[in-house]
């Protein structure tokens, strides 16, 4: 599960294609325009490689870190069946990270470097996982609505131009559909249950609504930067478009259950077909993504602990005569 890669809006766009061979660049762009996939050993602009590494790597990190808030509830999920299902879901998320890291390393960044950049805080991951899952209902809202947002993003990106990323996403999307159904089932159970259960799920929705609205990232300015990424099919839809798609699909389902979305301005404008909402607090988003959220420190400390404690096992199995070769696909 994952939102959009966070791209610093202050990054300069005009540097993106500077110094590229114009003939090769034109051929490359023509191939993408024809709908062809780019494969690891093909020629590609430096910036295409850089942006894809950043995006796929962040996606992989999000899967790994996302397992932490949900994993919180494995031992306390109500009933054996829900424990088993949540365990399977968390295992899926960690498996997704493996697939994504594999896709990213075809672009030339080693898995060790990706892990190093995660645990030192250099690489980002989806901001929503810097928030805690206070109750079982929070875990249910995450499984339903955060995974719903992730599917919208991943289905769009699966039509992108980089072959290995598309193939990984196809597989991931199949598994995400189970997560979505599982999450919806859990939310429906609470929402149609006792008054205490209803209160619990409403409170979780209220807590998670701001992070959900943040999930797709701030409005992207129509910049040269965005334009090039869209032409290269690295970015498949604007953040606002994906947020609209999410609201359109899921707000009616939330309202169906008689739950209240904590935004009095939220409504669909029937003339434009677009949803109107209170602008999310982007200062809060920036504060959290830069380390100021309630769980940032915990997430990375846990990740470092896991790396450190597993190190002796990895070392014991290491065979010095082996050499690393970049995977082909």
């Amino acid at each position: 599960m994952y939102g959009n890669a966070y791209i610093d809006p202050n990054e300069k766009a005009n540097a993106m294609i500077a110094g590229e061979d114009p003939i090769k660049l034109a051929e490359f762009e023509a191939r993408i325009a024809r709908g062809e996939k780019i494969e690891p050993k093909d020629w590609m602009p430096k910036e295409y490689r850089k942006q894809l590494i950043r995006m796929i790597e962040q996606h992989g990190h999000s899967e790994i870190i996302g397992a932490l808030p949900e994993g919180t509830w494995i031992t306390r999920a109500p009933g054996f069946k829900r424990k088993m299902a949540l365990m399977a879901k968390v295992q899926d998320e960690v498996g997704h990270a493996q697939l994504l890291y594999s896709a990213a390393e075809t672009l030339g960044k080693s898995r060790e470097d990706m892990t190093n950049d995660l645990i030192t805080g250099k690489s980002k991951y989806s901001n929503v996982f810097n928030y805690p899952a206070f109750t079982w209902a929070d875990a249910c809202i995450i499984a339903w609505l955060i995974d719903a947002g992730a599917i919208i993003n991943q289905v769009a990106n699966a039509k992108g131009s980089y072959g290995p990323y598309c193939r990984a996403l196809d597989r991931i999307c199949t598994e995400e559909s189970f997560h979505l159904k599982y999450g919806h089932d859990n939310v429906v159970t609470l929402a149609t249950g006792t008054p205490i259960q209803r209160k619990m799920v409403q409170e979780a929705l209220t807590r998670w609504w701001p992070p959900i609205m943040h999930f797709f990232g701030p409005s992207d300015k129509i910049s040269q930067h965005t334009e090039i990424l869209m032409r290269w099919k690295v970015k498949m839809a604007s953040n606002d478009d994906m947020r609209q798609q999410f609201l359109n699909m899921y707000v009616p389902k939330i309202w169906d259950l008689g739950l209240t979305v904590p935004d009095t301005a939220l409504k669909k404008n029937e003339e434009t077909g677009l949803w109107e909402y209170t602008e999310p607090d982007w200062d809060e988003f920036k504060r959290v993504i830069n380390g100021g959220g309630p769980c940032n420190a915990e997430r990375l400390a846990v990740r470092r602990m896991a790396e450190e404690r597993g190190r002796w096992v990895r070392k014991a199995l290491y065979n010095a005569s082996e050499k690393y070769v970049t995977p082909l696909a």
Binding site: L99, S102, T174, M305, Y318, E322, P327, A329
Partner: protein, 124 residues
């Protein structure tokens, strides 16, 4: 010390600034290409890679990552270093392949000749 909502994490008594030595190259070992066979009689299909220190563990990870959900009859793993591949840049060597109609059943239009012959016989 981290105090988490997850009691398992609190019990681990993790320091918040537990900086660690960076991972060094090959910490995650080399890679194996994974081939997945859906059912007996089908071809094995390439599905991706796993990182593993030896073939036995590559098979184990292959099962977890690629056979976890899919119906699976069998899995192969091959060291990435042992795969030899053509370059996409050389793809022009395959260009004339579909043109060689003499190697295809569709390249032989006997009915046209037979019908023409029969027609000619009738007019005699």
């Amino acid at each position: 010390m981290i105090k988490s909502l997850d009691p398992r994490i609190t019990r681990e008594q993790i320091e918040e600034n537990n900086s660690i030595e960076p991972l060094t190259p090959m910490d995650n070992w080399e890679t194996y290409e994974v081939f997945h066979q859906k059912k007996r009689g089908d071809q094995h299909m390439h599905v991706g890679i796993v990182h593993a220190p030896n073939p036995e563990m590559a098979l184990l990870f292959g099962k977890e990552q690629y056979g976890r959900r899919n119906i699976t009859a069998n899995i192969w793993v091959v060291k990435t270093a042992n795969v030899f591949a053509c370059e996409y840049d050389d793809a022009d060597m395959f260009e004339t392949t579909p043109e060689k109609q003499y190697r295809e059943a569709g390249g032989y239009k006997v009915m046209e000749k037979i019908n023409k012959y029969k027609k000619a016989q009738k007019t005699v």
